[in-house]
């Protein structure tokens, strides 16, 4: 190890020494004929700019094709399909602008490199041109704003009443999903009621909590084709509930409830066929840095046919499972004291 370190330092010193020689050599050369040298540099760099542009743009195209299989895995929600389409439109527009402007930039650089016998064109304003290239981007952007906001409004302002109510609860470093049950109302909860047996801090006295069901492993399920009305909560720091395939993301913020409304369209089984991967699974990732083990915070998501989903849900235990009433009152007295203390 030490040997390698010494070798590295030795090599660095050697390289520095060589560089110094080059510098001295070139500065001596430039003293001889600075103008000629600059002309050569102009030519070489002009050609390099052109080469960089051509190779660069070819690589942009090549990599886009090469990695297209990873880009935007098939969207598995209704709004996801729409935003994907919108994204491709946007990419189309910015792609055109990208190619035109980059080509112009590098080509002009190459074409108009210095020539002693020529003068640059003294040309510094053209109001007509400037108006055009202000108005055209404005129109294009207006179109992008309108289409974008259209999707956004559709997604966020639709009627949430018909959705199946669920809660995704985040804490360092895991998720718990809670289903509202037949009444479709989540029971009240408070961080003051949290205990080992009651990780969500559910108020057992609230009748709405009686039929709530929560996940007890690292897997949650959703039915296909049924709108989901998802509340996100956190008990400690900010997390972000991110389903990449569902194009769904919402921060979970302690002290408030955030909401996202979406409709899954493809079951896990169907997605396995589409991806041609028997082991494919949807995933829920935490996408807001939340602590040292942030990168391990995730949950498996399975999207089932509604019937299969209902069967699975019945097998899950209600939130109050195993909780005796006497125990409840004991637990509650403690937080009350804390509240009084505050």
């Amino acid at each position: 190890m030490n040997f390698i370190l010494i070798l590295t330092i030795g090599l660095s010193v050697f390289v520095m020494w060589r560089l110094m020689n080059i510098v001295q050599l070139t500065s001596r050369l430039s003293g001889e004929n600075e103008e000629e040298e600059q002309n050569r540099d102009n030519k070489v760099n002009g050609i390099l700019l052109m080469a960089f542009m051509v190779i660069g743009l070819l690589l942009v195209v090549y990599m886009t094709v090469r990695y297209s299989e990873f880009m935007l895995p098939k969207a598995a929600t209704e709004h996801g399909e729409e935003t994907d389409l919108l994204l491709w439109w946007n990419f189309g527009v910015i792609g055109i602008v990208f190619f035109i402007t980059q080509i112009a930039l590098f080509y002009f650089g190459y074409k108009y490199r210095f020539n002693k016998s020529r003068r640059a064109f003294f040309y510094h304003e053209n109001h007509k041109l400037e108006i055009w290239w202000t108005v055209i981007p404005t129109i294009v952007l207006a179109a992008l704003i309108v289409t974008g906001l259209n999707s956004w409004n559709k997604m966020t302002q639709s009627d949430h009443d018909d959705g199946m109510k669920i809660q995704v609860y985040s804490y360092q470093f895991a998720f718990i999903a809670r289903y509202a049950g037949p009444d479709n109302v989540l029971g009240k909860s408070s961080y003051l009621l949290i205990s080992d047996t009651n990780p969500l801090g559910i108020d057992y006295d609230d009748p709405a909590a009686a039929d709530d069901i929560m996940t007890r492993g690292n897997e949650m399920r959703l039915p296909v084709g049924i709108p989901i009305d998802m509340d996100c909560n956190s008990r400690d720091v900010i997390h972000s509930v991110y389903f990449p395939h569902l194009r769904t993301q919402m921060n979970a913020v302690p002290g408030m409830t955030t909401n996202f409304y979406f409709k899954p369209t493809i079951t896990t089984a169907e997605m396995r066929e589409i991806e041609q991967d028997e082991n494919f699974d949807y995933v829920l990732l935490c996408n807001k840095v939340c602590g040292v083990a942030h990168y391990t915070m995730n949950m498996k998501l399975v999207i089932d046919e509604p019937d299969d989903f209902r069967t699975w849900l019945k097998e899950q235990k209600p939130v109050m499972d195993g909780v005796e009433t006497a125990e409840n009152s004991e637990e509650e007295s403690e937080p009350d004291e804390q509240m009084a203390a505050m």
Binding site: P137, W152, G255
Partner: protein
């Protein structure tokens, strides 16, 4: 100010007459200097040291991202506390990510860029003896230095440096129970940032005062070089937005140390509920991004200003659309205050408020497009000298386009849902504000190095530096778009948790290899920079045949900048390749009466104006 300047004139003239140096000791000349030229060098060298530190951190965490869990024995040698057994520790990873961002954004691209070039160029380009207040200027540097020192020390305290990302969102940053870096490390982060904000405000107020009050005779606002416009707008943005960050930081300090609940509510952590109640973590985000977004332009505008000057000089052609450039910068600056919500689309904000931010955000693209077209039009039918700074200027425009365009996607709330906080964002902002701004800074260093140190940097090494860096930057950040579109979150220590990401590992390897290439290229720069300070070729008076005022001051630095009277300005700074003129440039100090062969009809009005001010203020 008038009086003061008059006194300074006499002062400097007297020096010149007696031909004796200012009575400077080592301490007043190199350390507690009040001379703007020395302060600018102090800023530059401090920022370069910080930049290499932040770059080294990024290269170390890139190793982990490309080869997760693999041991690199040399890491154990150089940073045994952070990489036991040669594997970077997850908490050290987060600390490095946080400090890399903080140092690069604040110390390098704000302090380093504005501090260096505003200090160097404002007095020299507007024709002032020095800054409005040399003393405050000195304080500005020393607060900056203290801030850098505290941030560097924070790496070594118990629990490590702040680790919640450079945006330090509470509650993570407020609770030491949540992450070890939120203990002493976070306290020092906040102290350092408070010192930094003081430095930025002292500097900014000075810059604005100098530009407004100390311009030489004839230097009207429409004759200011675009660099000065950029610095003026940048300093104004800083003055308006940094105090908001300071208040955000102060409230966080209260929450952390004095039990208040500005940002905290309903928290259960480490097995117990906390007493905090009624605060909102989102409040912090609003305050933070009210600075945070203007900050993007505080970083970018000086770089664009420097590039405007460098491109025009080296293209031997006036910048296209001078007024449009100024107006664009003003519009961008104004809009930057009303777009901060686009960082918060998925925090649960009201969707209607979200749509307002979408609208204002996408409007930024219009002035940005105008600026881009102006740069390209400047190159059209130019006569381009490919000096290293010109290449960096062109590189800046290329990055500004590439990174700016992806901003259109991220500014669209519907599309942001899926891309928020993943590698697409990392790619976007590194290209548009990281690479663009650092390329502007490089262009500035190569261009004004002769003005700072009286010597030239080596061109050949400059070319090598440019080509390796531009390849490395695109090589690092272009592939990251694909990671983002695949849904890979940022700030993950390893992508091993979800097996669908395994297929992307070769993209991560490519990125890391390119990052190493970029690191090597910066060693070339470092060598060139240090070597040229001592052994570079002596600089001629006006090495780039430039029009602006700074090249009329003697190469050897003089207290007060010009011996005798400050030159008078007669024209705008962009008379390059004017038809009929003898040379392809006419400095700002040349009166129209001396250039009858190249005067245009429109110049008559300017000439008349010059006469008027010459008569009106002949007493100065």
């Amino acid at each position: 100010m008038e009086v003061k300047q008059g006194v300074q004139v006499e002062h400097a003239a007297e020096h010149d007459a007696h031909d004796h140096e200012h009575h400077d000791t080592f301490w007043t000349k190199y350390v507690f200097s009040q001379d703007h030229k020395m302060i600018s060098k102090q800023f530059l060298i401090t920022a370069i040291i910080m930049a290499y530190m932040a770059m080294a951190m990024s290269m170390i965490f890139r190793l982990q991202l490309a080869w997760p869990g693999e041991a690199f024995p040399f890491l154990e040698k150089i940073i045994p506390n952070f990489a036991p057994d040669g594997i970077l520790d997850p908490s050290a990873y987060l600390a490095f990510v946080t400090l890399h961002g903080t140092i690069m954004v604040f110390f390098v691209l704000t302090g380093g860029l504005s501090g260096t070039f505003s200090n160097l160029l404002i007095p020299l380009q507007v024709g002032a003896r020095d800054m409005a207040s040399g003393f405050l200027n000195m304080l500005s540097y020393w607060f900056f230095f203290a801030s850098c020192t505290v941030m560097t020390i924070s790496i070594y305290v118990e629990g490590g440096a702040a680790s919640g990302g450079w945006t330090i969102y509470p509650p993570l940053s407020a609770l030491p129970q949540a992450i070890p870096g939120s203990g002493m490390g976070m306290t020092l982060w906040l102290v350092s940032m408070a010192l930094f904000i003081i430095s930025a405000l002292l500097g900014g107020i000075n810059y604005v005062c100098t530009i407004i009050n100390l311009r030489t005779k004839g230097m009207t606002l429409t004759r200011l070089p675009l660099t000065i416009w950029a610095f003026l707008i940048t300093a104004t943005l800083g003055i308006l937005s940094f105090p908001v960050l300071l208040s955000a930081a102060l409230l966080l300090i209260f929450d952390r140390s004095f039990g208040t609940s500005f940002y905290l509510s309903d928290i259960f952590i480490a097995g117990e509920p906390l007493a905090h109640s009624g605060g909102s973590p989102i409040l912090f985000q609003h305050l933070f991004w009210f600075l945070g977004h203007p900050e993007v332009y505080i970083v970018l505008l000086p770089a664009l200003g420097l590039a405007s000057e460098v491109i025009s000089v080296n293209a031997r052609k006036p910048i296209f659309g001078y007024k449009a450039m100024v107006v664009s910068m003003l519009v961008i600056a104004f809009l930057s205050f009303i777009v901060w919500g686009h960082h918060m689309f998925i925090t649960g904000m009201n969707p209607f408020l979200g749509s307002v931010f979408v609208f204002t955000t996408l409007l930024v693209a219009i002035p940005s497009a105008v600026k881009t077209f102006n740069y390209i039009a400047t190159l059209w039918r130019a006569n381009i000298q490919f000096t290293p700074q010109m290449l960096f200027g062109i590189g800046l425009v290329s990055f500004f386009i590439s990174g700016g365009l992806t901003g259109i996607i991220l500014g669209d709330s519907a599309l942001d849902i899926n891309l928020h906080d993943n590698y697409f964002v990392v790619a976007h902002f590194h290209i548009v504000m990281g690479a663009s701004a650092i390329f502007g800074m490089f262009a500035g260093v190569y261009h004004w190095f002769p003005r700072m140190f009286g010597r030239m940097m080596n061109k050949k090494l400059g070319y090598a530096h440019f080509w390796l860096t531009v390849i490395a930057v695109y090589g690092v950040f272009f592939p990251m778009h694909f990671l983002g579109l695949a849904g890979v979150p940022r700030r993950y220590y390893a992508n091993t948790a979800y097996k669908e990401f395994d297929a992307l590992i070769n993209i991560n390897e490519l990125v890391t290899v390119m990052a190493m290439l970029g690191g090597i290229a910066q060693l070339i720069f470092l060598f060139n920079f240090v070597y040229s300070i001592f052994r570079g070729k002596a600089s001629p008076q006006n090495p780039w045949k430039s029009n602006t005022l700074e090249w009329t001051a003697p190469v050897k630095h003089l207290h007060g900048n010009w011996p005798g009277r400050i030159p008078v300005i007669h024209r705008w700074p962009y008379d390059y390749s004017k038809p009929g003129a003898k040379d392809d440039y006419i400095p700002q100090t040349v009166p129209f009466t001396e250039t009858p062969e190249s005067n245009l009809p429109a110049d008559e009005r300017e000439a008349k104006f010059n006469e008027e001010i010459a008569n009106a203020r002949s007493d100065v």
